[in-house]
């Protein structure tokens, strides 16, 4: 979405300085300017005013949208030019702050210490090896004693009258014992024993580490493993002596501690817990998804557009592969979650927490990525798509030619028209004027849209019917029928055009009335406001007063209300022209171009003060862009375009009504009263959102049709064609939709189960079953 409405987009080319409409040539710009803006006061003041307004609009747009931008793209570095300063949220991201490393210092100190420690440990192990290198059981004790004494010099008995550990005096009863590893003296109570297996484990581990050259696991930069190994190698070569005591070696607590620590290290090195193994697999899977998913999405998008760059088989293989990986991720994380649950004693709560967190993040991952996985067209569908694309390309070529022709024609036409019209001051009809022309431009696409069954205008419906008849007739090869039908169609078209022109005139008249009304209302409201402000502050609430803050902002509005609707209309027209352009310019429409005008246009009413139209639009857009079906349909921008304008339209109401508002939660009625004149006259379909709600299954690409003048603009978009897959195309798409639905629901069930919302799970499974039934039915039907 960020790309759709990037406000930083630079528009270039022949832009009209007043309405920013993009015109394709200098001549067109000139004619546009003379035609559109001749009625406006052309003095410099007026232009400056409108420029100021434009800046305000842009500012407004930026300000209100800063929220979503941040949410979308995190660190986008553009600056808002609001009031000249910069919103702190938009300060350009700075580099990482200062840091200072103590690592080299740390290592220096550690190395000194470690040398000492490692030497000590190694010394003990070498001695231990010497002590165990001979066959102790078959050696007489005197000899063992001699060997033991040779390994380490024993401390003199006379030097130690008391046990250094417990402080007891040595006597005949309390005899002295020597540590065989360091030679120190302690009493029997303080003496520790090392069993032979334990000694063997320690000494053999040291040898292993030498032979396999594996450094200990605890630290990547450790050197002590090899260091210790090299010393122990000396020990293994030395001492081939034999002696005997018993099968245990006496030592002091200090030496034993050191050895135990060492043992722990050895254990840890060799032991990889299950969770690590599983986790590594899990990460591998995630990486795979990160690799494959974008590739698949690219493929699917291209295939769904009817391109032949990738093969369908390959794509569906990839889809299956990616889905399998998802399943694997799910399974692995589940396994991690349940690790050791049945053990006794149960694992430490932290371990369980870790497992839960891993599972949670895997779930998040799957949710986030799986939903972006669009479905593929079936084989038949694909063929169809290919065909359609071909047709579309041809049509586009024709259209391009037409547009060029058209523009020249228009230029000529307007030149001659201009003088008389301008003289009459007939701005109103002028504004309505371009509509029929545009219609002619968009003739082809319009006639080719039988899919729009929701047309509220009977004429339009008729036109659609006839076009589909024509197609059928053509297919049947009945040329004479085609001819009559076409004649018929032309008449209808003319009729419709006329109607539209009339409507446009009507509309502008109403607009003028509304302006008056609006002004009046504003005035009245202001007066009331001040009244209240002064006199009955007890009765009035905060809300009315804070509103008064905004009066200044509204006043400019009030001063030049004539300008407002005009730009409004200009934008409506703009909407049309730019979508036509985009279709001409690129083979896949840049969605932003279609959406942009709508956006811009929503500015002025919002300027009044109200946040909500904006947020509503963005919500709505978000909704639309999330819709997976949009992705299937490159023409979706039209849908979005048509959604937005009416939304912005209603905002005319609130901006007035809000002034009356006492309590934000009670504003409905007032809004309804004030909002009415603005929302109704030009759109028989009362509210596009309601429309959506009533027919959510209606594919988003078909715009909510109405007698609305914007309608024409959207119809002229050749990409409409894309969605018009004809009646027979309807069912396979339904099926695909179902399939995807099933996928999605499965994901949600999974999620719901995860969160323990059993009621939701129930509803969802119910839905899933239903879906599957429908699918089966349909498959039976098509087969």
């Amino acid at each position: 979405m960020a790309s759709l409405d990037d406000p930083g987009e630079v528009r270039e080319g022949f832009l009209c300085p007043l309405c920013l409409k993009n015109l394709q040539s200098f001549y067109q710009l000139q004619s546009h300017y003379e035609e559109e803006h001749s009625g406006e006061d052309r003095d410099v003041k007026g232009q400056i005013k409108s420029l100021v307004q434009k800046a305000k609009k842009a500012k407004n747009r930026l300000l209100k949208r800063e929220g979503d931008d941040r949410a979308e793209s995190g660190t986008q570095g553009y600056e808002s030019f609001s009031y000249g300063g910069v919103d702190p949220y938009m300060w350009e991201p700075q580099e990482l702050g200062a840091v200072r490393s103590h690592l080299s210092d740390f290592k220096k100190h550690r190395a000194a210490r470690i040398d000492h420690y490692v030497v000590e440990v190694n010394k003990l192990i070498i001695r231990l090896e010497k002590l165990t290198a001979f066959d102790r059981t078959n050696t007489e004790s005197a000899k063992i004693r001699a060997i033991e004494k040779s390994v380490v010099p024993w401390v003199n008995d006379q030097d130690v009258p008391f046990c250094p550990d417990c402080g007891n005096k040595f006597s005949i009863r309390n005899r002295r014992h020597h540590c065989r590893l360091c030679g120190s003296i302690m009493c029997k109570k303080c003496m520790e024993l090392i069993s032979l297996p334990f000694a063997n484990k320690l000494t053999s581990a040291s040898k292993d580490s030498l032979s396999t050259h594996t450094s200990p696991s605890q630290s990547p930069n450790s050197v002590h493993g090899s260091r210790r190994g090299s010393i122990s190698s000396v020990s293994s070569v030395s001492s081939v002596l034999d002696e005997k005591d018993d099968d245990r070696i006496r030592c002091c607590t200090h030496c034993k501690d050191t050895l135990l620590k060492r043992e722990q290290q050895i254990d840890e090195k060799e032991h990889t817990p299950d969770i690590v193994k599983l986790y590594e697999k899990l990460r591998l899977c995630m990486e795979k998804v990160d690799q494959k998913a974008p590739e698949y999405i690219r493929m699917a998008a291209s295939l769904n557009a009817g391109e032949t760059t990738y093969s369908l088989e390959h794509a569906s293989d990839l889809r299956v592969e990616v889905q399998k990986v998802y399943e694997l991720i799910d399974a692995l994380s589940k396994k991690i979650l349940t690790l050791g649950l049945n053990q006794d004693p149960p694992p430490h709560p932290n371990t369980l927490r870790l497992q839960r967190m891993i599972r949670y993040s895997a779930t998040l991952f799957v949710q986030e990525k799986l939903l972006g996985l669009m479905s593929l067209p079936t084989r038949e569908q694909f063929e169809e798509l290919k065909k359609k694309r071909k047709q579309e390309m041809e049509r586009k070529k024709i259209l391009e030619r037409q547009v060029v022709l058209e523009s020249q024609q228009r230029f000529e036409e307007r030149r001659s028209d201009l003088a008389s019209r301008a003289a009459n001051g007939e701005v109103v009809s002028l504004r309505g004027g371009p509509a029929p022309l545009r219609k002619a431009e968009g003739w082809l696409p319009l006639s080719g849209s039988p899919g729009q069954s929701e047309d509220s205008d009977p004429l339009l419906q008729q036109i659609h019917n006839i076009t589909s008849f024509i197609r059928q007739a053509k297919a049947a090869g009945r040329t004479d029928e085609v001819r009559t039908l076409q004649e018929n169609l032309r008449q209808l078209q003319d009729e419709y055009d006329q109607q539209q022109t009339e409507k446009a005139i009507e509309l502008s008249r109403r607009q003028a009335e509304e302006e008056d009304l609006q002004r009046e209302q504003l005035q009245r409201l202001c007066e009331r406001e001040w009244e209240r402000e002064r006199e009955q502050f007890r009765a009035a609430s905060l809300h009315t007063r804070t509103r008064s803050l905004d009066f200044r902002e509204i006043r400019p509005f009030q001063l030049e209300p004539g300008r407002e609707p005009r730009t409004h209309l200009a934008y409506a027209l703009d909407l049309g022209s730019s979508s036509v352009q985009s279709s001409v310019a690129a083979e896949t429409p840049a969605p932003s171009s279609a959406l942009e005008p709508a956006r811009v246009w929503s500015g002025p009413p919002a300027l009044g003060q109200e946040f909500f139209p904006q947020s509503m639009i963005s919500q709505q857009n978000e909704l639309a862009s999330l819709n997976p079906f949009d992705e299937e349909d490159p023409s979706s921008p039209t849908a979005e375009g048509t959604i937005s304008p009416p939304a912005a339209e209603c905002s005319f109401g609130p901006s007035v009504s809000i002034l009356k508002e006492y309590n934000p939660f009670e504003e409905e009625e007032e809004e309804a009263v004030a909002g009415n004149p603005f929302t109704n006259p030009d759109s028989p379909a009362p509210n596009p959102f309601d429309d959506e709600d009533e027919h959510p299954h209606q594919r988003p690409s078909s715009p909510p049709v109405s007698g609305n003048p914007f309608e024409e603009a959207t119809c002229t978009n050749p990409f409409e064609m894309d969605s018009d897959s004809g009646p027979e195309g309807e069912e396979p798409i339904e099926e695909e939709l179902l399939l995807q639905q099933i996928d999605n629901i499965k994901a949600y069930i999974f999620d719901a189960k995860q969160c323990g919302r059993l009621d939701e799970v129930e509803v969802l499974t119910e839905n899933l079953r239903e879906l599957k039934r429908t699918l089966a039915k349909q498959k039976g039907g098509t087969d």
Partner: protein, 570 residues
């Protein structure tokens, strides 16, 4: 200059540096707060950080398959804990980051404890402050001064926080301070000292105009933290209290279990980000829209999603719906509670009189209004006391000052002794004799004209007419008109150009009203970036605690304060 981003970058860097694998983040009490302000759990989970542990927690299990990232303040206790940790390592490898400068000797003792060579990194990452908004930071120190001077512990923490901020933004500033405050001068000197000592760290690329650090004292404007607020963020803090973006709603009547504590963070709550600076009325209508949107999207469960279309709508909106339902119920609850408190405490009327006391100079009308409100049973003792405090501050030297009468009224109203004592304490804290500048009467011609015009035009909004004194100070600073005899430079060099990057720090705490002022200044002044900080962010309650903690209780202790005050005033 974005402080949230600065801290976030530090944390991201730590996680990145530790490479792939399961990780645990080992923190102390303060750094937990620092990190939680910039990262959400799900965000950090995606970076393979699965556990968060406190270094002082005894109940940690040995998990050798985890990597540990330690982010700690360089305190004595933390170093001791870390030494013990390294002697018996619980994790496979340690990446150690201190949030501030650590002494060489501490590094040495850590190195000597690392017998098993488990440490792979020891660095200083200067994220040593709470980043509240991109332009607002706090140190969460309540009660920083004893009398008029720093508590030693608080001074050193503040110095650390402030220097860490400078380092994280890579700014080596010139320093100005408020002459009338001894504390401001001390802090300025301490910061300068650190900059001089660690000159290597502060060697950044020189900018054309050096950044500026302005140190102020809360004493200069005791009015702002005493006012009721009407913009969303400030109002929530005033009425409910925000603590590290968390709001305690457990006292709200009939609150549901999962809403007892909610998080309001502009970083991941779009609604909040868009509305935090709007006033209460606007929030109300925006909430309503949010609710309507929500209702539109909410699946009608009674209908059991009959058609495929229903289901599609449901499924499509599901993730958003889930997120949204959280947002909706959260904001609806918060705003609902706010509006309940407003009507229960009669805050509209109270606030209007507060604003009159703060912004206008009509003594008799103000007195009348205060007296009237004191008779109103709906006005709480807290609000009654603060009205009298505002009156006492404004009309301290007025010829017909009738504070004693008001104090009598307070007593009659049954306001507790604690609050009545606080009235004199507040005057002691921020009264005329300690203020370096005049809060109430405008000084120069421009300001006088402005006020005159304001009088002509009438007030735009009765509840938000007050502008914090900070606005004027910063306005002058930006225009290069801030008087050097009131806010002198530390050291001989002065700024010749107008400042561009400004860091303002308020000893004794900033307020969200001031944050809004700074936000607006940032947006309206081209080429200027301002970051605001304070020892904490106050609401009235915490401000009164601050006053209480400073020990300036009553007039009886006034005599002991005289020497220090005369010293500070010179």
């Amino acid at each position: 200059m974005n402080v949230v981003f600065a801290v976030k970058q530090y944390v991201s860097k730590m996680i990145e540096d530790s490479g792939p694998g399961m990780k645990v983040l080992l923190m102390d009490k303060e750094t937990t707060g620092i990190v939680s302000m910039v990262y959400t759990q799900s965000e950090i989970l995606q970076k393979e950080v699965y556990l968060f542990e406190r270094i002082d927690s005894q109940n940690r299990e040995i998990m050798k398959h985890l990597k540990a990232i330690c982010f700690l303040r360089p305190t004595k206790e933390n170093v001791d804990y870390l030494i013990q940790e390294l002697r018996r390592p619980k994790y496979s490898i340690y990446f150690i980051y201190f949030s501030n400068v650590i002494s060489k000797s501490d590094v040495k003792s850590l190195a000597e404890a690392d017998e098993q060579e488990v440490v792979a990194e020891v660095q200083e990452f200067y994220g040593d402050y709470i980043a509240v908004n991109p332009h607002l930071f706090s140190l969460n120190i309540l009660g920083c001064c004893q009398g008029r001077n720093w508590g030693p512990a608080q001074l050193s923490r503040t110095t650390q926080g402030l220097t860490a901020l400078l380092l994280s933004l890579k700014k080596c500033p010139m320093i100005r301070y408020q002459l009338s405050s001894e504390a401001a001068k001390r802090l300025a000197e301490c910061v300068k000292q650190v900059i001089t000592k660690e000159y290597e760290l502060f060697e950044f690329r020189r900018t054309e105009v050096p950044p500026l650090l302005l140190i102020l004292d809360r004493c200069d404007d005791a009015i702002t933290p005493l006012l009721n607020q009407w913009t969303y963020q400030a109002m929530v803090h005033e009425l409910l209290g925000i603590n590290n973006n968390r709001i305690d709603l457990s006292r709200v009547p009939g609150i549901s279990k999962d809403l007892r504590e909610v998080v309001l963070s502009a970083e991941n709550d779009e609604f909040y980000a868009n509305n935090m600076y709007l006033n209460f009325a606007e929030i109300g209508s925006n909430i309503k829209n949010l609710m309507e949107d929500f209702q539109k999207k909410k699946p009608k469960e009674q209908q059991k999603l009959e058609s495929i279309a229903d289901m599609k709508a449901f499924v499509e909106n599901y993730p958003q719906f889930k997120k949204m339902s959280g947002t909706v119920s959260k904001h609806v609850t918060v705003v609902g509670e706010l509006s309940r408190l407003v009507s229960e405490r009669n805050l509209l009327e109270v606030s209007e009189v507060e604003q009159e006391l703060a912004c206008q100079n009509d003594h008799s009308s103000a007195l009348q209004n205060v007296k009237r409100l004191l008779q109103n049973p709906k006005v709480t003792e807290f609000d009654a006391a603060r009205l009298v405090m505002l009156y006492a501050l404004h009309y301290e030297r007025h010829s017909s000052n009738s504070l004693p009468g008001l104090m009598m009224d307070l007593r009659n109203k049954g306001v507790s002794e604690k609050y009545r004592k606080l009235v004199s304490a507040v005057v002691e804290y921020g009264g005329k004799r300690v203020r370096g500048s005049d809060l109430f009467s405008p000084k120069d011609a421009v300001a006088i004209t402005k006020q005159f015009l304001k009088g002509l035009k009438g007030v735009e909004n009765v509840y938000t007419q007050h502008q914090p004194f900070l606005h004027e100070t910063l306005d002058h600073l930006i225009k290069g008109k801030l008087k050097e005899n009131v806010y002198p430079y530390l050291g001989p060099s002065t700024l010749r150009d107008r400042p561009q990057d400004i860091i303002v720090f308020i000893i004794g705490g900033a307020t969200y009203e001031e944050a809004l002022t700074v936000y607006n200044l940032n947006r309206t002044t081209p080429g200027v970036r301002i970051v605001l900080g304070g020892t904490t962010v106050h609401n009235t309650k915490s401000f009164l605690e601050e006053v209480l903690a400073s020990g300036l209780h009553s007039r009886s202790r006034e005599s002991s304060q005289v020497p220090s005050r005369s010293a500070s005033r010179r």
